[in-house]
């Protein structure tokens, strides 16, 4: 009798283990890889591959990961930095990504791009997924999910992504098999490179809003971010990246300025400082003024790097052999991608593979 029960228990245990393995493999297969399309989706996960610490950590949306180049900061100033950014990354997602990063390192400076302060509610499941799916499981991830879910979303779908992505079974490609367990790098310390140029050609006039007050949830998470930095002895810097669209209203700018003053934070609206930085929206943007291209990002990074070097006690890691070795590889990858993009641009007249 005992033998029979033991046999049954063993069979059940084997069944459960096999099912878990099968589900794990299927989940790996079904999850979007973001390799050849929408590489922004793969960037959050890339952070965990880092082998060296960073003294500056950027958090924010596309205005960070497309406008600041950590490789330029390193090459010109020896600053080690990383961008934890993703498309339409909301303030609470930036907070939880920062909290998550603090599990691995404690930077000296955190730079938060304030454009996301305009959103006070969860926006889009697709963007939520790009910000959250790449995070390793932790209380920060759970917090990010809870804060970000739209009404149609469910926590279980994030914890077991196969429940969300099972419907991709009919869209699977060779890429899904190839990148099941290992993905190629798509960013340069979180920076998304684009070398092409598309000059600005005008935007619609900004609409008048009925209320310009920044939302309470966004402000709550800005407070939390500030407090988290204070607790960890980190300097928080607020920036508004140069971009002509979406509009950053003066009324919003004033509220951020007042907030920065109240808590003694630095706040720079680089949109207003674009001429001083040398940004030319005819040559320094790849999508007609929404985001900067490589040329614009490098100009902004040089300008910002000077400020960082002058105002914060940052180490020049160019002389550190360990960092030099790691960054030599990063610079090689950076240069190779730049060359490859220029080559594609020359060949096809547009960027296709990046």
């Amino acid at each position: 009798m005992k033998n029979k029960i033991a046999k049954r228990a063993a069979a059940l245990a084997v069944f459960i283990i096999v099912m878990l393995i099968a589900l794990y493999l299927l989940q790996k297969l079904m999850m979007p890889k973001y390799m050849s399309d929408i590489p922004e989706g793969a960037m959050v996960e890339e952070y965990y591959q880092e082998t060296t610490d960073h003294e500056v950590l950027f958090v924010g949306d596309c205005e960070v990961y497309e406008n600041f180049s950590p490789i330029t900061l390193y090459e010109d100033y020896g600053i080690t930095s990383y961008i934890r950014g993703s498309a339409q990354q909301l303030t609470w997602q930036s907070y939880y990504l920062l909290e998550d990063a603090l599990r691995y390192e404690t930077p000296k400076v955190v730079v938060f791009n304030v454009l996301a302060m305009k959103y006070n509610e969860p926006q889009s499941e697709a963007y939520n997924r790009m910000s959250i799916d790449g995070m390793k499981m932790s209380s920060s991830k759970i917090g990010a999910i809870q804060a970000s879910m739209t009404e149609e979303e469910h926590m279980l779908d994030y914890i077991f992504p196969i429940l969300r992505y099972h419907s991709r079974w009919s869209d699977l490609s060779a890429e899904d098999v190839k990148y099941m367990f290992h993905k190629d790098k798509v960013s340069h310390n979180g920076y998304y490179m684009r070398v092409d140029v598309r000059p600005v050609d005008g935007f619609p006039e900004p609409e008048k809003l009925s209320d310009y007050t920044l939302g309470d949830k966004a402000m709550e998470y800005l407070d939390k971010m500030r407090e988290l930095c204070e607790e960890n002895g980190i300097e928080l810097v607020l920036v508004k990246s140069p971009s002509l669209y979406p509009y950053w209203y003066d009324e919003w700018d004033e509220q951020i300025t007042d907030y920065a003053q109240e808590y003694g934070l630095d706040y720079f609206n680089y949109e207003k400082l674009a001429p001083e930085i040398g940004i030319d929206y005819n040559t320094d943007t790849y999508d007609a003024g929404l985001h900067l291209n490589l040329s614009g990002a490098e100009k902004l990074s040089r300008y910002f790097g000077e400020y960082l070097t002058e105002n914060y006690d940052l180490t020049d890691y160019r002389d550190d052999p360990e960092y030099a070795e790691v960054y030599a590889e990063k610079i090689r990858f950076y240069d190779e991608m730049r060359e490859a993009q220029y080559k594609e641009l020359e060949e096809y007249g547009e960027i296709i593979s990046f």
């Binding site: 069979a11 069944f15 589900l23 779908d157 429940l163 099972h166 009919s170």
Partner: protein, 531 residues
């Protein structure tokens, strides 16, 4: 909380664990608590209706039982002292009292259902009449919400109270046991309509954990989910595209929609019942089967003996027979035979009773004319096939096709087509439109319109169609096996320990991967939830 919600699956897991870990005497009371929790989560305001129906049924059943006891005692006390006439007279008096109490209960319970389900339908018809008579007055609709499963539990309690009245069932003395019978959560959503005598024993008795019984239940649940989320909810996309755009999808696509709806409804309803029966089975409880492979029926009568069986038998036992043998009907039967002759006259009362049954079946399905017409169409087809019976007999005497396989297939296909065609009233939910689309199916038929591009425009990809085809083949194969060799689960369990795990595991992965659930799918309620 739908069967397909994660929260329901979580709820189920908790109920299952507690059911087997709590002291055995707490099993059925715990199920009552779980059922009320389930109902409370669905909507707290619904509780009052189910509780009111339970209380009224309980009180009246006790009263009926008491009257029965009084009668028995009186007869025993007066044994040998009273004449047969006096006994008969006394019994008639008691019966009259019981009848009054029965009516009170039926009016109360049916009243709740009628007010909540049919008030706005009545108002809409009154408004239609007022408009027809050029009146400017229009009645306002009421904001009424139909409690979950009200049609099912109301009919279940009605069946119970009629059984107690008839003496075929004894009144349950424990109000909480009766409350569980009425509210047992797996069957609350979409039936089946259980009889007290069938369900009570296994519902209230103690159940010990039996791996085989639990495995059988889990298999049944999984099979139900397979039919619901992989098949029904996937076809739903195409069905909705066709029926919601009658101006776009005409001719051959009306036929396609009709057949797709037949598959969807089958997979949806039988899938839901599989889940219900499976859940009960995991707890050792036996719920009455509601389907017996209805698409293998060779005629409409057989179909209704295989489809929604508990509803069919309910209408037969509690509407058809009582009407057929009631005094006015017996009088009418006599009149009919005298007027039309024995041959036709004896059929008229049967048809009249059938008419009432099918009218109520229709309106039970939904408070709208399309359901009533759907019910009456079933009546018409059954009546015609009855009338044509002599012709069929002549045909079969002349041509020996009855035992031939191809003729069997012809009969099955004919029945499926007929039932699917009638169901178009349920599909389009608009009587004039349905009639129009019947005509349109033939007048606008163009084989070239049924091309791959048009099919892909229904919201399903080529892969979806292939998957559906394979799944329907699997369902067909399983049904053939069940029809010919009995329980497929018995076969799987008899074929070695490994197979039961392999089949279960593969089926589970299929449901998880190919299920049409989550974001990107318009997750649907079970169709019969609405009734």
């Amino acid at each position: 909380m739908l069967f397909t919600d994660y929260s329901f699956i979580g709820f189920l897991a908790v109920v299952f664990i507690l059911y087997y870990t709590l002291p055995k005497k707490c099993q059925w009371p715990f199920l009552l608590v779980a059922s009320y929790v389930f109902y409370f989560i669905a909507s707290p305001s619904y509780l009052i209706f189910i509780a009111a129906t339970t209380v009224s049924t309980y009180l009246v059943s006790l009263k009926l039982d008491k009257l029965e006891t009084i009668q028995k005692e009186w007869i025993r006390e007066h044994k040998g002292q009273i004449s047969r006439e006096e006994k008969k007279e006394y019994k008639a008096g008691i019966k009259a009292k019981k009848w009054k109490w029965l009516l009170v209960c039926l009016f109360f319970n049916l009243g709740i259902l009628a007010v909540l389900k049919y008030t706005n339908f009545t108002i809409a018809n009154i408004n239609g009449l007022l408009q027809a008579f050029h009146s400017d007055r229009q009645l306002s609709f009421l904001n009424l919400v139909l409690p979950m499963g009200i049609s099912f539990y109301t009919f279940q309690t009605m069946g119970y109270i009629i059984d107690v009245y008839r003496g075929t069932s004894t009144a349950e003395k424990n109000p909480f046991k009766l409350a569980l019978f009425v509210s047992f959560f797996p069957q609350l959503v979409q039936g089946p309509i259980s009889r007290f005598n069938d369900l009570a024993k296994s519902l209230f008795e103690v159940h010990y954990f039996d791996p085989k019984v639990v495995s059988y239940g889990l298999y049944r649940i999984l099979w139900g989910y397979f039919k619901k989320v992989v098949v029904a909810d996937r076809i739903l996309t195409a069905v909705n595209a066709i029926i919601q755009n009658p101006d776009t999808y005409q001719g051959g696509f009306v036929f396609v929609g009709m057949m797709f709806y037949a598959f969807e409804l089958y997979a949806d309803f039988t899938g839901g019942i599989d889940i219900t029966i499976g859940i009960a089975q995991t707890m050792g409880i036996t719920v009455t089967e509601n389907f017996r492979r209805p698409y293998f029926s060779k005629n409409i009568k057989e179909y209704w003996n295989r489809w929604h069986i508990t509803m069919g038998t309910w209408f037969t036992d509690y509407i058809f027979y009582p009407i057929s043998v009631c005094k006015p009907m017996l009088k009418f039967s006599k009149f009919s035979r005298n007027t039309f002759g024995e041959k036709i006259g004896k059929r008229v009362p049967v048809y009249l009773s059938s008419f009432v049954v099918w009218f109520t079946t229709g309106i039970w399905h939904g408070a709208s004319w399309n359901f009533i017409v759907w019910g009456l169409m079933n009546f018409v087809v059954i009546m015609i096939s009855e009338e044509l019976e002599p012709l069929y007999r002549k045909f079969h005497a002349r041509f020996d096709v009855k035992g031939k396989a191809w003729y069997g297939v012809f009969e099955i296909v004919r029945t499926i087509l007929l039932m699917s065609a009638i169901r178009m009233f349920d599909c389009y939910r608009d009587v004039p439109l349905t009639f129009k689309m019947y005509g349109n199916m033939f007048t606008h038929f163009d084989i070239r319109a049924l091309n791959a591009e048009a099919f892909l425009g229904l919201g399903l990809s080529g892969a979806d169609y292939l998957l559906l085809f394979i799944c329907l083949l699997v369902i067909l194969s399983v049904s053939i096996l069940q029809e010919r060799r009995g329980s497929v689960r018995d076969m799987i369990f008899a074929s070695g320990a490994a197979w039961k795990y392999v089949v279960f595991g593969v089926l589970m992965l299929i449901v998880i991967v190919f299920g049409a659930y989550g974001i990107g799918y318009d997750q649907s309620q079970f169709i019969y939830n609405q009734f």
